[in-house]
Amino acid sequence: MLLEVQAVARAFAQGGRRIPVLEQVSLELAAGQRLTITGRSGSGKSTLLNLMAGLDLPDAGRIIWQVAGRSWNLAELDETTRTAFRRRHLGFVFQFFNLVPTLTALENVALLAELNGLDDPFGRARWRLQRLGLGDREDAFPDTLSGGEQQRVAIARALVHEPAVILADEPTGNLDRETGDAVFAQLLEVLAEEDRALVLVTHDPELAAGGDAELALGRTP
């Protein structure tokens, strides 16, 4: 199994009270699988994604990744190792693209390859952009790209270092339906070709449909 989330709980303090956001959440994800996490606003979707990425740690439960022939229990890793794990094995696609505004499209994509010490980071980045139909936009800065283009650059960035899984947080939430569908279709196509897993957080029922598994998170109390 690529990922095992076992009885995870997380609560936050607010005004002196502890507000539980996740309680006893468990799930499994196999290599190449597509898991969809749905739920209303405030249901804990992003919190769960943060926990899976090692951005945050659970109050209880375990999150275990099986990648590159070894097991990674995120709760037992220090911050530096969690960062290194994230950098090497996970890819991210955000709702608001979150490209680095002072790097060109090509540089945004190459950044992760370079950080991971991969050979020919710009060649890899160029190939990824061409694959997503952005070969002629590689020198453009993010603020000159359309929303759809920006999200495709973000997808290229998420894939450039060939991670085991992509974590996508409302990847079409900031795009119109038509563009969103097109971008998402491209993402799915690449993932299927390369046999990579996807964890998709969304409240769009159309995107949620068609996944291998779905986790529906409840309302916040």
């Binding site: 530096t80 290194a84 002072t102």
Partner: protein
């Protein structure tokens, strides 16, 4: 409250740390302006009080050559006045005076002494002229006249010496004439603003005996009907900008015949005031510099606030709010910050003034022999002035931000801001260059030089962001193959210039000033060192007590066996061409350095004419070849100027005249330089000490050099303090800018951390950016600092003090500027970097979502 205003004020509160930094910038600027003003006002008041105590209602004084006149002249003049001599038609009172600086001690051998001005008067003739002199009918006046050796001493001086002011006591007076006892019979108060220097009043006969001047007077004071007071606006202008509007001394010197001249006391005081005002104006300029640096903080903070709220302004515009309303609102925000900053600045300024006063007073005492008051005057004018300057300057600094805010279009984008900024910047630079060049016109004097320095610094400030952008782009071009994180650092730094550029401007101003002042001070130090080394080249110096005309015989007999050469000087005070001077009659014997070791600017010291000091040459506008009218007993000698020599004393101008040119008729303080001692130096000292008359002091040149260098260092202490304040404010500005940038970039760092960038990267990016900015700032500050030094050395010093200096470019000064700048950058970046280091990726991502 207007909802629009409420919304803007809430922004101030929401960004309270940024608001606080801007308020701090205004506060420090206002505080320094106020402190310098208060300290200057206090020292000016000290001068006025000191003059008032000595001169009272006297308006003119009759003096003889060498500022001493025979006592016999007084009855003759008084008789002429009483008989209706038309020269004295408007004279109300006439009184003789004998005065000199002395030192007061409790016992003849006691180490602790207190500087005093001894004022010998005729209590009958002086009646009503000076408030401190007791009326002729009083018991104290009667005792002063009838009991020789009795004096009155001010209460503060007695307390300082630990003497009960209410009981009579025997005290000891040290003067050039030696140590003499006096009987203190009563004390008097000089008022709240006690002077650093005390006052001792005696009958004229007692004063003559104490000073060994029996038969001689210092001057005869006249009280003429006062001229109409100066126009109201001139008085106000002088109070607002002391030093800028010093009236040129009106030369109303009148020759009364028989070697007697009448001079205006106001004119004499104006000479000293003008010199002190030069120094005070320099300080005021440094104070304004601190304000200028502070204003860049305000400008930066408001620009940042406007940029952050572009979307909000766009929404307001879309809802129908006019551009002019937004403009007014941003100015209102600035006004709120201005008021808060001014209030804090006035409080800090009062406190800072107390610290500065001691430094200012010390410097003035070193430079001009003036004394300082212990208390600050409760004068509202400096407070109102500092507050007005603070508010107006804040609004001025806010104008560009207000203009930028009002140009935001309803879609949240700025309209043509870049182009407008670039053309405005070019126009401003052109204007500043023209203004700076115009300020160097000779008619504007040294104040023009300071204005030119201001123009250079403002030009630097306007140029800084463009300079930074050029440097960063150049680096980007050079580092094409560098890792993406390095390129990210460079691009982020360039993008952040809209925020950090203003802070970098402040840093450039502070560093350029520090470097310019540093170069000037080092050039000054080196010139003074060389001048002192030459002037004090003789290993031994002997200062005689009392007044002399000739070298005492016992010493003269001994000299051929003990030294190879000597220079004997007799020095007295006088006035030449309306300027106070010290005249030295010089006799040279044996082997002495050429031109007496003087650093000649032009010509030579010759046996046929006079050599004059450089400041005097500039004040008189006379150089080698011109003729100088030198007062001597019974008339004046027309002598050619054969040489002009360097002189860095700030007192009266110096005139050197060879022994053969003037007859040794005038007495004065006498000194001997001893060159080429024969044999053991200690032996020479012992032999001379035995032969010299009582009270003579023999000093080694090392001792004199150390004394002179100590004075030099104290003189520049106050400027260093003000420089340091401006530098600290600039570093604070950089800190504010980097903190703001750090906040802005938290979302970007949040994404990067999520993608797998480790926590050190944002820290290194922040520190790297600060170092880049600091290095670029210092690179620009270096040539500008040299430019500032050129104006300070070649214009301000020459015009204000008449000093020319040898240029010095010590490499350590440039290295120090670089290191200080880098350190300021590192310190400024440390806190924002630490905050990023501690932030968890989850917290940063939360901010990313909130920001979206």
């Amino acid at each position: 409250m207007n909802l629009l205003l409420r919304s803007h004020l809430r922004h101030l509160w929401r960004d309270r740390w940024q608001t606080l930094l801007a308020v701090f910038g205004i506060a420090i600027g206002v505080a320094v302006v106020l402190a310098v003003d208060l300290a200057n006002a206090a020292s000016r008041e000290a001068m006025r009080v000191a003059t008032q105590q000595l001169d009272g209602s006297a308006t003119h004084a009759i003096t003889g050559a060498g500022e001493r006149l025979a006592e016999s002249a007084y009855p003759a003049l008084r008789l002429s006045w009483r008989q209706g001599d038309e020269r004295f038609a408007d004279v109300r009172a006439m009184a003789p005076v004998v005065t000199a600086e002395v030192r007061l001690a409790r016992a003849p051998e006691e180490g602790e002494v207190w500087p005093m001005q001894l004022l010998g008067v005729d209590p009958v003739a002086d009646a009503g002229m000076r408030a401190t002199v007791p009326g002729p009918a009083s018991g104290a006046a009667g005792r002063l006249i009838s009991e020789p050796g009795t004096v009155l001493v001010d209460v503060a001086s007695l307390r300082r010496l630990g003497i009960d002011p209410d009981a009579e006591a025997t005290l000891w007076v040290r003067s050039a004439a030696g140590i003499r006892p006096v009987r203190m019979i009563a004390s008097f108060s000089l008022g709240e603003r006690a002077l650093g220097q005390g006052l001792m009043i005696a009958d004229i006969a007692t004063a003559q005996e104490l000073l060994d001047r029996v038969g001689w007077l210092s001057r005869i004071d006249l009280e003429r009907q006062r001229a109409a007071p100066a126009a109201g606006w001139a008085v106000l202008l002088e109070r607002l900008f002391p030093g800028l509007v010093i009236p040129p001394p009106a030369s109303d010197e009148r020759d009364l015949g028989g070697g007697l001249r009448e001079v205006s006391l106001a004119e004499q005081a104006a000479d000293t005031r003008a010199l002190a005002a030069s120094f005070q104006l320099n300080l005021a300029a440094l104070g304004l510099l601190a304000l200028l640096v502070g204003l860049f903080l305000v400008h930066g903070a408001l620009t940042h606030a406007v940029m952050r709220r572009a979307r909000s302004f766009g929404r307001l515009r879309a809802l129908g709010v006019q551009a002019a309303e937004i403009h007014r609102m941003v100015l209102a925000e600035a006004a709120v910050m201005g008021v808060l900053g001014v209030l804090a600045g006035l409080v800090i300024g009062r406190w800072l003034a107390r610290a500065l006063l001691l430094l200012v007073a010390g410097t003035l005492e070193n430079l001009y022999g003036q004394v300082a008051v212990a208390a600050l005057a409760p004068d509202p004018v400096p407070m109102v002035k500092a507050a007005s300057v603070g508010i107006m300057a804040t609004l001025l600094a806010a104008l560009p931000a207000a203009s930028r805010a009002s140009q935001v279009a309803p879609n949240g984008r700025s309209l043509g801001v870049q182009r407008a900024d670039a053309s405005r910047r070019a126009a401003l630079i052109a204007l500043l260059i023209v203004a700076g060049a115009a300020a160097l016109h000779p008619r504007l004097g040294y104040a023009g030089g300071l204005l030119a320095v201001g123009a250079v610094l403002l030009t630097a400030a306007v140029l800084t962001p463009a300079w930074m952008r050029t440097c960063l782009r150049l680096l980007l071009d050079v580092l094409k193959l560098a890792p993406l994180q390095v390129r990210l650092l460079l691009r982020d730094s360039e993008r952040g210039l809209l925020r950090s550029g203003v802070a970098a401007s402040a840093l450039v101003i502070a560093m350029a000033t520090a470097l310019g002042m540093g170069l000037m001070v080092e050039s000054f130090r080196s010139s003074v060192d060389r001048w002192l080394d030459a002037r004090l080249a003789a290993p031994l110096h002997l200062q005689f007590a009392g007044e002399h005309r000739e070298l005492p015989e016992a010493v003269a007999d001994l000299l051929p066996q003990t030294v190879r050469g000597h220079v004997f000087r007799v020095t007295w005070s006088d006035r030449v061409g309306g300027q106070p001077v010290r005249v030295s009659r010089i006799s040279v014997t044996g082997e002495v350095p050429e031109d007496l070791g003087l650093a000649m600017v032009a010509g030579r010291f010759g046996p046929q004419g006079v050599a004059i000091s450089e400041p005097l040459s500039r004040r008189l506008q006379k150089s080698v070849g011109a003729t100088l009218s030198l007062p001597v007993a019974g008339g004046a000698l027309e002598l050619p100027i054969t040489g002009v020599f360097r002189e860095y004393g700030a007192g009266p101008g110096l005139i050197l005249v060879a022994d053969g040119v003037v007859a040794p008729l005038l007495a004065g303080s006498a000194a001997l330089e001893l060159h080429g001692p024969r044999g053991d130096l200690d032996g020479v000292v012992k032999a001379l000490a035995a032969a010299a008359p009582e009270g003579a002091r023999i000093r080694h040149n090392e001792e004199l050099l150390a004394l002179a260098r100590g004075v030099f260092d104290r003189t520049f202490r106050v400027t260093s303090v003000l420089q340091a304040i401006a530098g600290a404010v600039a570093a604070f500005g950089l800190f504010a800018a980097l903190t703001a940038l750090g906040l802005e970039r938290r979302t970007q760092y949040g994404v990067l951390r999520t993608l797998g960038v480790d926590r050190r990267t944002p820290v290194l990016q922040n520190l790297g950016e600060a170092l880049l900015l600091a290095a670029a700032a210092v690179l620009l500050a270096m040539p500008l600092g040299v430019g500032v030094a050129v104006i300070l050395i070649e214009v301000v010093n020459v015009r204000a003090f008449g000093w020319s200096l040898d240029w010095q470019f010590p490499p350590w000064l440039f290295l120090q500027a670089l290191l200080i700048s880098l350190l300021a950058g590192l310190l400024a970046a440390a806190l924002p970097a630490w905050s990023l280091y501690r932030a968890t990726p989850a917290a940063l991502m939360q901010e990313v979502r909130a920001d979206a």
